[in-house]
């Protein structure tokens, strides 16, 4: 009898052990993935929470500016710490391609997206679109009897002398999109575009390192106006700062925001599900709910009405990614030499 009891006891222990060992993978079926987000946390967090609600997959993430995120991913490329690079302007992703940090992946919506919202091989795919706007401080406008600028020429007005803040082309996607816009409205005639930028230079108080860097100074009235992405501008307004948003009649550019799978990702399957979800209407129709003022990249998702109202009647053109990409380095260098620090 005793041996049997001992045997049963031993068996029970063995079963428990096996169950215990086998347990974790099952319990771990609540999958997780890791991401670097370039979108600020107040936008990334609600999106990832919605994703977890929809799929049961938890996203652990840290937020970095685009340059820092890319520098980290490159430094970690032999042993990636995260699976996905989420959000951020396409040009950041373009710079990453030649470092070989991405694993091409085409989500189901790939075919439905317009060409400018995807890399042909699926190195990155767009999740949103972000047009540029002029944002000006209302007190400044009133003091100088000005209307919100409605033309690129308006920014040359002497009242703006030393009162504009714009982004630095060496560090900011906002600035590069801005320069591409100026090139575009001058019919890609570089000589004329650079003439304009040189004329604008005395009005620029500061070129900020990040695209949103000038929003607070404009909000506080330390600067009169600047060129910003619409999400940053509408955020400034929502924070209570008295600013106007306007568009130049000649037109202004827009830049896509993207997502990409990292090469060597340790959780490729959940990561792909996040990409599937983010590039589809499932995520992009939630922008409005969380007051994220991006324009959806997916053609089937309607623009949120109040955002559509702001954009109504404006002339917004996509930046030719190929042209911008091919000439970026040369144009930024020319900008540094002729506009930022002109040689005496």
């Amino acid at each position: 009898m005793a041996p049997t009891i001992r045997g049963l006891f031993g068996l029970a222990v063995a079963v428990m052990l096996v169950a215990g060992l086998a347990g974790p993978p099952h319990a771990g079926a609540a999958q997780t993935l890791n991401a670097y987000s370039i979108w600020p946390e107040n936008w990334a967090r609600p999106m990832f929470e919605e994703f977890e609600r929809a799929t049961g997959i938890k996203v652990n993430f840290v937020r970095f500016s685009s340059g820092e995120a890319l520098a980290r991913v490159i430094a970690e490329k032999n042993s990636p710490r995260v699976d996905v690079l989420f959000g951020g302007p396409v040009e950041t992703f373009a710079a990453g391609i030649k470092e070989g940090i991405f694993e091409p992946y085409k989500p189901p919506t790939f075919a439905a997206l317009p060409a400018r919202f995807k890399h042909p091989d699926g190195q990155w795919v767009a999740i949103a679109d972000d047009p540029l706007v002029f944002m000006s401080n209302n007190t400044f406008l009133k003091d100088n009897n000005l209307k919100p600028p409605s033309s690129w020429e308006d920014l040359l007005h002497p009242a703006y002398k030393n009162m504009l803040q714009m982004a630095d082309a060496r560090t900011s996607g906002t600035a590069v999109t801005g320069i591409s816009s100026i090139l575009e409205v001058h019919g890609r005639d570089e000589t004329r575009a650079f003439e304009y930028m040189k004329k604008l230079r005395p009005n620029v108080q500061l070129y900020t390192k990040s695209g949103g860097g000038g929003t607070l100074p404009v909000g506080l009235g330390q600067a009169g106006a600047g060129i910003f992405f619409i999400v940053d501008a509408l955020d400034t307004k929502a924070k209570g700062y008295d600013v106007s948003i306007s568009f130049p009649k000649e037109g202004i550019g827009t830049a896509a925001e993207a997502i990409a799978l990292l090469r060597g990702a340790k959780n490729p399957e959940p990561a792909k599900r996040l990409i599937d979800w983010a590039t589809s209407p499932a995520m992009q129709s939630l922008f409005a709910k969380h007051k994220i003022n991006f324009v959806p990249a997916h053609p089937e998702v309607p623009v949120e009405p109040s955002l559509a109202e702001v954009l109504k009647g404006t002339k917004i053109f996509p930046i030719d990614a190929e042209h911008a990409g091919a000439n970026r380095k040369r144009i930024v260098e020319r900008w540094v030499n002729e506009v930022l620090n002109p040689k005496p």
Binding site: N34, P40, E41, N42, N60, F61, V62, R63, F64, S65, S66, G67, E68, L70, A71, R72, I74, A75, E76, N78, S79, R81, V82, A95, G96, E99, K161, N162, M163, D168, R170, T171, S172, Q205, L206, Y207, K209, S210, G212, T215, L216, P217, G219, L220, G221, Q222, A223, D232, D235, T236, K239, G240, Y241, D242, V332, V336, L340, N341
Partner: protein
């Protein structure tokens, strides 16, 4: 041969070995890993990146600008620190006043990134509170050398104060008394006795501030504007803007050259001067009488003026934390504090844990290394001193990326842990403790230690029983700086935070990105409060430990 004989002392030998192992792992290895990435491509050495950078006139301009800024900040900050140190240690200030001085010098050290610069722009911008509303100056340009210099001097002069105060405080008034009794005037005593005795400290302070300015990137990032590029921001832009790690690293390495030159100059200059004011023979301390009553009024007045500027900035910061949106909606609210104690709680916990672990380790490392290089003879002593300064002299961006490259792949995987952040802080911010220890020891007669050894005590016992009580102020200075920096620094650790570990400063940066000035200010106020509480606790502890018969350990940090 004396060098080698020293190594037969087991306590000394093992300490040297351990310190070299740590320096190798946390200073040399990451640097080597970074250099490997820069100069090694497809199995061969390449210098293309180096040449491209060094022939660019903009970058050359940035080199000169950095040197100019560093020199100005080094001199002005040291002068300001000396002013405060003399006032605190040589004017018999009543304790409450001394506390006010200590508090005012602590504040700028506790300046979390970006928020102070925002306060600066809010006050001195084209529509600034001071420039426009108060003085009515139109179109004032806040960006450039002037405001960067002003802001850095205000930020770093406390390092000079921390370096100089223990030296002045430890100086036996009897030395000055002798000069007085020989008929010297106060000014002459100051000029020929007090000032020369402080020279090693002054030199150390200029070096520390020069290097700190050279490596500082947050201040010029916001305030230098476009006409005054400096190396650390150029390096940062090169890496995060142009995605050019190689170019950015080359620019950072250029920074090592001036830092190293100043270091050698200082060694050469100071090592010829040999001052001992603390000997075993000192009698009772007499009262300090080196400052005339009118001079005391002037000194205290000048300090209060500087303190008022500092306090103004923090008052503004505090105000920003209790209104809905500074500059737009000035209704009172406690919402920002509610936000940081709910969403920000993890960052607060992580930061405190990391700072709490790094603090004692950093203090210990600082005095051990300082003691070894100042007092012991062993092969590679000078090299050890130089190596210990490297992480301090490099811009944080580079240190962060070097750590990331070195500790992401085997053999040593540390990324994602708190250990890598702690190590980064210790090896980057302990040089204050090291320099203070060296400066303090150069005042103390080695015969005290020789006597101990002559009576049969080993190196370990001598250190513990004789030297340690004498250099305790340096220990607390080093530990204080490591703690404060752990609470406020960001440039290196932004690359080391992970999904598991985050920091308050990263939250502040994030809040600034989201235009949430309120929570950013609230976090900053919290950081200031925590640092003050911890420093007060240290001071109280220090008073408990004050050994009878030892030199009165005048606490640096508010004792």
């Amino acid at each position: 041969m004396r060098n080698l004989r020293a190594l037969r002392d087991p306590a000394l030998l093992s300490t040297v070995v351990v310190l070299w192992a740590l320096l190798g792992l946390f200073v040399l290895y990451p640097l080597a890993a970074l250099l490997g990435r820069i100069f090694w491509e497809d199995g061969q050495v390449t210098t293309a990146g180096l040449r491209a950078i060094l022939t660019d006139p903009h970058q050359i301009q940035a080199v000169w600008n950095s040197l100019l800024l560093g020199a100005l900040v080094g001199l002005a900050g040291t002068a300001l620190g000396f002013l405060f140190a003399v006032t605190a240690a040589r004017t018999n200030l009543p304790p409450p006043w001394a506390t006010v001085l200590d508090a005012a010098t602590l504040l700028p050290l506790v300046s979390p990134p970006f928020t102070a610069a925002i306060a600066m722009i809010f006050s001195f911008g084209p529509r600034g509170l001071v420039t426009w509303h108060l003085l009515g100056i139109k179109g004032y340009t806040v960006y450039g050398l002037g405001s960067t210099f002003f802001s850095e001097t205000l930020t770093y002069f406390p390092l000079a104060y921390l370096t100089l105060k223990p030296i002045l405080a430890a100086m036996d008034p009897n030395v000055e008394d002798m000069a007085f009794s020989l008929g010297s005037s106060r000014w002459r005593v100051f000029r020929t006795v007090t000032l020369p005795l402080t020279v090693p400290g002054l030199a150390n302070s200029v070096l520390l501030l020069f290097a700190a300015s050279l490596a500082d990137f947050a201040t010029p990032l916001i305030l230098a504007g476009n006409s005054f590029p400096v190396l650390p921001t150029q390096a940062y832009l090169q890496i995060t803007g142009l995605f050019d790690l190689r170019g950015g690293a080359v620019l950072s390495l250029v920074l090592l050259v001036p830092a190293f030159v100043v270091f050698l100059l200082q060694r050469f200059w100071v090592s010829r001067k040999y001052y001992v004011t603390i000997t075993g023979k000192a009698g009772a301390r007499s009262a300090i009488k080196s400052v005339a009553p009118w001079a005391r009024v002037v000194l205290v007045g000048a300090c209060l003026l500087v303190a008022a500027v500092v306090v103004y900035f923090y008052a503004l910061l505090f105000y920003a934390s209790i209104v809905v949106a500074l500059g737009a909606n000035h209704a009172w609210t406690l919402r920002h504090y509610q936000v940081i104690f709910t969403e920000g709680l993890k960052a607060i916990r992580d930061t405190l844990l990391i700072a709490g672990v790094g603090m004692p380790l950093g203090g210990l490392y600082g005095i051990l290394l300082g003691y070894l290089v100042a007092r012991q003879r062993f092969p590679g002593r000078q090299t050890m001193e130089v190596v210990s300064m490297i992480n301090y002299a490099l811009p944080g961006t580079i240190v962060g990326i070097a750590y990331l490259i070195a500790f992401n792949d085997p053999p040593i995987v540390l990324t994602g842990t708190a250990a890598v952040i702690v190590a980064c802080y210790i090896f980057r911010y302990s040089p204050t403790g090291i320099r203070t220890t060296v400066a303090l020891l150069s005042q103390i007669d080695p015969s005290l230690e020789e006597a101990s050894r002559g009576l049969g005590a080993g190196t370990g016992t001598t250190f513990r029983r004789v030297t340690l009580p004498l250099i305790l102020p340096a220990f607390f200075a080093g530990l204080g700086v490591v703690f404060i920096r752990s609470m406020t620094a960001i440039s290196a650790t932004i690359f080391l935070v992970s999904i598991n570990w985050t920091l308050i400063t990263v939250r502040i940066l994030e809040n600034m990105t989201e235009l949430a000035l309120g929570p950013a200010a609230a976090f900053s106020v919290l950081v200031v409060a925590i640092v003050f509480a911890v420093i007060a606790a240290i001071s109280a502890l220090l008073r408990q430990f004050r050994a009878r018969g030892a030199v009165a350990v005048t606490s640096l940090l508010g004792g």
